[in-house]
């Protein structure tokens, strides 16, 4: 690489409004495929799942025309610069988000079922259960390829109070990734913590010494846990198993760090605390996803932009009322307009993210060409809480496996999980069953 990497100061200036600056590109290639077209080292396919809560104002979302020449209703309008990279998928259903005898709780179920296709168990704490989520299926299979199997991000802390939705524990409405049916994965909200997790902040020698020490600590605790089993109840044993599987996970991670090529630490300034301005926070998290993909630290990312049922306000677009309250709009036009503005805020952020990915050259194309970015909500209309006709986008080229730039309409009740199965397919992960998926989705390529 011949270019001088840009300085921290320059990178900092790039933050804020003009996030589309090519600073990521300016950092130079950091992977085998980054340098140019290389048939021996083709760029791998990455997946990213983005979740926005409380449904959409569907009238301002769904294009009227199908196929290539589709129109961009108000909410999709910000995607204009990247429309050729986006598939609008209409008609998908998250059936397991429906009550099926469990009564209220559409918000908790919407997120709980979104990537799992499994009916979340209605409980306020005891025996939490949903299903393994699609990202974790991919993460488990790709684990040996990258330093981190996956990354779980959030734009809002897990809810801090009581049951969040009609008798469902808050876990459901704040968690998108499920490592197993019983193990929800918490999301990372602080950009600083994410950055430190992605990239070494220590010199290699120091890091190696630290890893060696950690290895012997982990050996010790595993040995030390052995005698516990006989004196624990069944529930305790499950917790201990969880602990031991985390121990193994970190051991593997340390082992991988020894064999995988070193990761270059980008010159990116992260603030010590979570930015108070939500748009800055979201922009930063998107930057970190781009960096994680670009440096190949992971190939699987989930990002919950706000918890399901979130009552965030959006003063930056003039909405000072709480999002969830507003989403019960009773079909009042002024409330629906505000919901549209919130929805539009999110697609604007998405468009910037996609443009950023498109600005990073990789091999024979761009990072966006080598990624599949799914975006959507498990609720369709926030007022009706219906889980069919979901607002779903799929962006990126998927390493040539997708033909974006179209609006595709699916028959009613087509399971959302069929999309997830189709995406796994495109990562060369042959998985036949996931949640309520019934097969692959046609019309994506």
């Amino acid at each position: 690489m011949s270019r001088t990497p840009i300085s921290r100061r320059t990178a900092l200036k790039g933050l804020g409004v003009s996030l589309a600056l090519p600073w990521l590109e300016a950092m130079g290639p950091s992977t085998a495929w980054g340098a140019g077209a290389d048939t021996k080292n083709p760029a791998p396919n990455r997946v990213c799942f983005l979740y926005v809560p409380n449904g959409k104002n569907m009238a301002d979302w769904t294009p009227k025309a199908e196929g290539k020449g589709f129109d961009l209703p108000a909410i999709l309008e910000p995607l204009k610069p990247v429309r050729e990279n986006v598939l609008v998928l209409t008609g998908l259903t998250a059936d397991k988000a429906r009550a099926h005898g469990d009564g209220g709780g559409d918000h908790a179920r919407a997120l709980g079922a979104f990537l799992t296709g499994s009916q979340p168990k209605k409980t306020d704490g005891t025996d939490i259960r949903a299903g393994i989520s699609v990202d974790q299926v991919a993460a488990a299979r790709l684990a040996d390829k990258t330093r981190l199997p996956s990354l779980e991000l959030g734009g809002e802390q897990g809810a801090m109070a009581g049951n969040c939705d009609s008798g469902y524990s808050c876990v459901y409405s704040s968690t998108m990734s499920w490592r197993s049916a019983t193990q929800p994965l918490p999301k990372e909200v602080s950009p600083k913590v994410v950055f430190e997790r992605l990239f070494a902040t220590k010199p290699p020698a120091e890091r190696a010494a630290q890893d060696a020490k950690r290895k012997s600590v982990l050996d010790f605790v595993r040995e030390d846990s052995k005698e516990l089993g006989a004196k624990l109840g069944a529930g305790d044993k499950r917790k201990l198993d969880e602990y031991l599987s985390a121990v193994r996970d970190i051991e593997l991670r340390i082992a991988r760090a020894e064999t995988l090529p070193p990761v270059k630490t980008p010159d990116y300034a992260v603030p010590a605390t979570v930015p108070a301005k939500y748009d800055e926070h979201v922009g930063m998290m998107y930057d970190l996803i781009a960096l994680a993909f670009q440096t190949d630290v992971t190939r699987v990312v989930t990002f919950v932009l706000a918890n399901e049922g979130s009552n965030k306000t959006y003063p930056m677009v003039g909405v000072t009322e709480a999002h969830h309250e507003l989403s019960h709009h009773d079909n009042k036009p002024e409330k629906k307009a505000k919901i549209r503005d919130i929805n539009k805020f999110h697609t604007t952020q998405l468009a910037r993210f996609l443009q950023k990915l498109a600005g990073i050259k990789e091999g024979d194309g761009t990072l966006l060409d080598h990624a599949m970015v799914a975006y959507g909500s498990g609720n369709s209309d926030g007022n009706a809480h219906n889980h069919d006709d979901l607002p779903i986008l799929l962006a990126g080229g998927g390493c040539g496996t997708l033909k974006p730039g179209r609006h595709v309409r699916y028959p009613k009740e087509t399971p959302l999980n069929n999309l997830w199965l189709s995406m796994l397919d495109r990562m060369d992960l042959r998985v036949t069953a996931l949640g309520d998926g019934t097969g692959k989705l046609s019309g994506l390529s």
């Binding site: 009550a99 005898g101 009564g103 209220g104 306020d124 704490g125 005891t126 025996d127 939490i128 802390q157 897990g158 809810a159 801090m160 109070a161 009581g162 049951n163 969040c164 939705d165 009609s166 808050c170 876990v171 490592r179 918490p186 990372e188 909200v189 602080s190 020490k213 950690r214 012997s216 600590v217 982990l218 010790f220 605790v221 030390d224 846990s225 005698e227 516990l228 004196k231 624990l232 109840g233 069944a234 529930g235 305790d236 917790k239 201990l240 969880e242 602990y243 985390a246 121990v247 996970d249 970190i250 306000t313 003063p315 000072t320 009322e321 709480a322 009773d330 009042k332 009706a384 809480h385």
Partner: protein, 814 residues
């Protein structure tokens, strides 16, 4: 509304008035049988009154009652049936417009169903339940590290937030341990031990200050060649001193220090010139100078420097700059050390006045630069061989970390780890000094990552036995300390547990622990979660409607509630104060918000931060329902929400939560047109015209309307826009009231419900699990005990820690 109530309550009233005509057919049948059977009578009632809606796949409210054919089926779904009982009892079902059962029919049915459960509970063995072992949550982790290691910082800030179950963040079943968290635990353990133990002590800090820059400062400081001149007298502090300079020292001045100064003095006298080296400190520090001591010192600034300790009095022998000498004195721990000074001692009578020249002052130390935590954690008999020292240090640390005596096997393993680290140090050619310390530090890091530290493991010899058996005394100590302090047990609890004397001393220990400042954890964690005040930290009231909202007000709201509870805990007040305390705590911000700043009794504040206790008698406030914190979290950003407030009362204070709204609530329509006009109250009343919503909203809205005099920030108001506030409310049972004070009266009339609700919440928090039906007995006993002790807070805690679920457990094989 009104129509409906007449409809429901009329049959009841008639039945009550004319008991003789009451026996109806179903009840006769029930009475005639030895045991009224659900199979026959109960099912008959269901068929007659319920199944037309509640059966099959499309059952209303997703409640199919046709699957309950016998007692066994009933017992399996107790929660469902509790709701069925409540709904029928409350006259909510069958709904208006459907044929209603007679009071006799309903009563008989409820008795049949109730008997099924009671018979079951009576014959069931007492069951203390079993708690899943709990991972320390973020608070507990921070507090435990503070008490175990002795450092007060918050390593857990970077941990992912803990999930909440049953309303609290300390529920064993819900607290998971994903890999990312274990990674944080590793990093935190390293950071903690790096700060607590310093194998290679850092160099001693010298705080050197040229006399030119010492105080008192000013343009007229007399100097010569950068030496500062101090003369005798008491008029001008700039020229008479003492000269002094601020210092910052770690550990509150603990440790040995050296104070240095380079000086000489000019004099014509015969007697030696003397100076005093001073260390300004806390007034309670040992050796603080008395009035008598101070009298001998010269200088106008002396009085202002007190309290100080006279480190030493020294003779100044040098008479010229060339002969100047450095004076140095060592002194011991000086709590609050924050400033050092050099003063002239008054010359003896008749002696001429000398002139003192000072070049610099320097405070060096602490001479042992290892932090206190280092010394405490590694304390041992240093005359002993290394192996024995290691054993002493690690046995003490691991036993406290695991909150029980460490076993020999555990200790051996730990020593092996430390030993390997020592040998690795040898190989790497590490310096001899600090090698052992580094090995201890490493072993302690491993302890902090062990599941025995991260989880509250309660080892059980009979983990599969269904028999109820007591937990051991160390486990009881931990349950107590994490309940009341959200931290590990202290030495007193450990000592009692070691002597097996804790169970016998529970009352005294509870009293002691509640008076300890650590009991604030109960307020910070339990109360904040019970009252659901965490969301207040992120609340974003509409700035257009509430420009007065700012961070100061937000913080003051939270502090008020905490201080109220702090007093209830500390002063052992009645728990009913939660509903109607006649006092509160406000700072200036909150007092303005509440309109308490005028009048003869207006509180006075020293500064903006200070909170003072104010008497609320005769005001419109008192108790949490009139506190801005609760009123704000139960509002929407731009307006009040009587529904939310009503639901809050039912759920958090009375423990009778309304069922969740039916899915897909129809839009608010009347005569085919959406209801968009009218006051909030009118809109809500229209809402209640919908029978699907009416049952619950009758309860919620009524309670919420009673609080309408408080706006969405908890400010008092009599107008909403142009409309006057109507704060009258009505509850099922023809209970009418107006305004917050009368509403509180209604709630106090239900104090048993409130006490039971609080008991259930506090027990959930104490046990770390959701309450089950088998806990009913324990809840009954605690609630009864609380009422008997005049609702004192300590009684509630004592009853809980003595209850079976708290002291016992049973095994659970799956």
């Amino acid at each position: 509304m009104r129509l409906r109530r007449v409809f429901i309550f009329a049959p009841l009233a008639i039945a009550g008035l004319v008991p003789l005509v009451r026996p109806s057919v179903p009840e006769l049948t029930a009475a005639q049988k030895a045991e009224p059977a659900f199979k026959t009578d109960g099912v008959a009632f269901l068929k007659k009154h319920c199944l037309s809606c509640h059966s099959g796949a499309k059952a209303k409210a997703d409640l199919a009652l046709d699957k309950y054919a016998d007692e066994a089926a009933l017992l399996k779904d107790r929660k469902v049936w509790q709701r069925v009982i409540d709904t029928i009892k409350g006259g909510e079902m069958p709904p208006q417009g459907r044929p209603q059962p007679t009071a006799g029919e309903s009563d008989a049915f409820l008795k049949v169903v109730g008997d099924v459960f009671e018979k079951h509970d009576r014959n069931a063995k007492p069951d203390p339940g079993r708690v899943t072992m709990r991972r320390l949550n973020r608070n507990e982790y921070n507090n435990t590290v503070r008490d175990l290691v002795g450092v007060d910082f918050n390593p857990a800030e970077d941990f992912p937030s803990d999930d909440v179950g049953h309303g609290f963040d300390n529920i064993g079943d819900v607290l998971t341990l994903p890999p990312v968290l274990l990674e944080r635990y590793l990093a935190a353990a390293e950071t903690i031990m790096n700060r607590a133990v310093t194998p290679t002590p850092p160099p001693v800090t010298a705080r050197w200050q040229g006399a030119w820059f010492t105080e008192p400062a000013g343009p007229k400081v007399p100097t010569r060649n950068n030496w500062r001149i101090v003369s005798v007298g008491k008029d001008d502090p700039t020229s008479t001193g003492p000269v002094h300079t601020p210092v910052k020292v770690p550990d509150n001045g603990n440790g040995d220090f050296v104070l240095r100064a380079r000086v000489y003095a000019e004099t014509n006298g015969k007697k030696p010139v003397k100076i005093a080296l001073l260390a300004c400190c806390d007034k309670n520090a040992p050796g603080v100078a008395s009035d008598e001591d101070v009298k001998q010192l010269s200088g106008a600034a002396v009085a202002a420097l007190r309290p100080f300790k006279i480190v030493s009095i020294e003779e100044v022998t040098g008479r010229t700059e060339k002969d100047a000498k450095e004076i140095r004195t060592k002194f011991g721990p000086t709590p609050g050390l924050h400033r050092t000074a050099v003063a002239l001692v008054k010359p003896a009578d008749g002696e001429p006045e000398p002139k003192l020249y000072v070049q610099f002052m320097s405070l060096d130390g602490p001479l042992d630069s290892r932090p206190n935590t280092h010394k405490q954690l590694l304390k041992c008999d240093e005359s002993k061989p290394v192996a024995e020292r290691s054993r002493e240090v690690l046995e003490r640390f691991a036993s406290r970390a695991y909150r029980r005596p460490v076993t020999k096997a555990e200790l051996d393993r730990l020593l092996k780890l430390a030993d390997a680290q020592l040998k690795a140090g040898d190989k790497a050619g590490a310096a001899a000094t600090g090698k052992w310390e580094a090995a201890m530090q490493f072993a302690m890091t491993a302890v902090l990552v062990s599941p025995k530290f991260l989880f509250r493991v309660e080892l059980d010899d009979r983990p599969d036995s269904a028999e109820s058996h007591p937990i051991d005394e160390y486990q009881l100590a931990s349950r107590l300390s994490y309940f009341l302090w959200a931290s590990m047990p202290d030495q007193e609890l450990f000592d009692l547990a070691a002597k097996k004397q804790l169970t016998a001393n529970l009352d005294a220990q509870v009293k002691r622990m509640l008076r300890d400042p650590r009991a604030n954890a109960l307020v910070d964690n339990f109360v904040m979660q019970w009252l659901q005040l965490q969301p207040l930290k992120n609340a974003q009231p509409d700035p257009k409607k509430f420009p007065q909202f700012n961070e100061q007000l937000r913080a003051a709201m939270i502090t008020e509630t905490k201080l109220l509870f702090g007093e209830i805990v500390r002063e052992d007040r009645k728990v009913l104060d939660v509903l109607n305390a006649d006092f509160t705590y406000v700072n200036a911000t909150l007092a303005r918000h509440y309109g308490l700043m005028s009048g003869p009794n207006a509180p006075r504040f020293k500064n903006n931060e200070e909170f003072v206790r104010v008497d609320l008698k005769g005001t419109n406030r008192g108790g949490v329902l009139t506190q801005a914190s609760v009123l704000t979290v139960t509002s929407n950003p731009g307006r009040t929400s009587p529904v939310k407030r009503g639901r809050y009362v039912l759920e958090q204070l009375l423990g009778t939560p309304p069922p969740p709204p039916p899915p897909n609530v129809p839009e608010l329509e009347k005569d085919g047109k959406p209801v968009n006009a009218g006051t909030l109250r009118q809109q809500m009343e229209a809402h209640r015209a919908n029978p699907a919503c009416a049952n619950c909203h009758a309860k919620m809205d009524g309670l919420g309307f009673g609080l309408e005099n408080f706006d969405a920030l908890g400010g008092f108001r009599t107008q909403d826009g142009n409309a006057p506030i109507d704060s009258s409310g009505e509850l099922p049972g023809n209970i009418k009231f107006s305004g917050a004070t009368e509403l509180k009266g209604v709630l106090l009339g239900k104090k048993e419900l409130f006490a039971r609700c609080l008991t259930e919440k506090l027990m959930t928090y104490a046990l770390g699990r959701g309450l089950e039906f088998y806990d009913r007995r324990a809840v009954d006993a605690v609630t009864a005990g609380l009422a008997k002790s005049d609702y004192k807070f300590s009684a509630l805690v004592t009853e809980i820690v003595k209850s079976d679920p708290f002291r016992m457990r049973r095994g659970k094989s799956q």
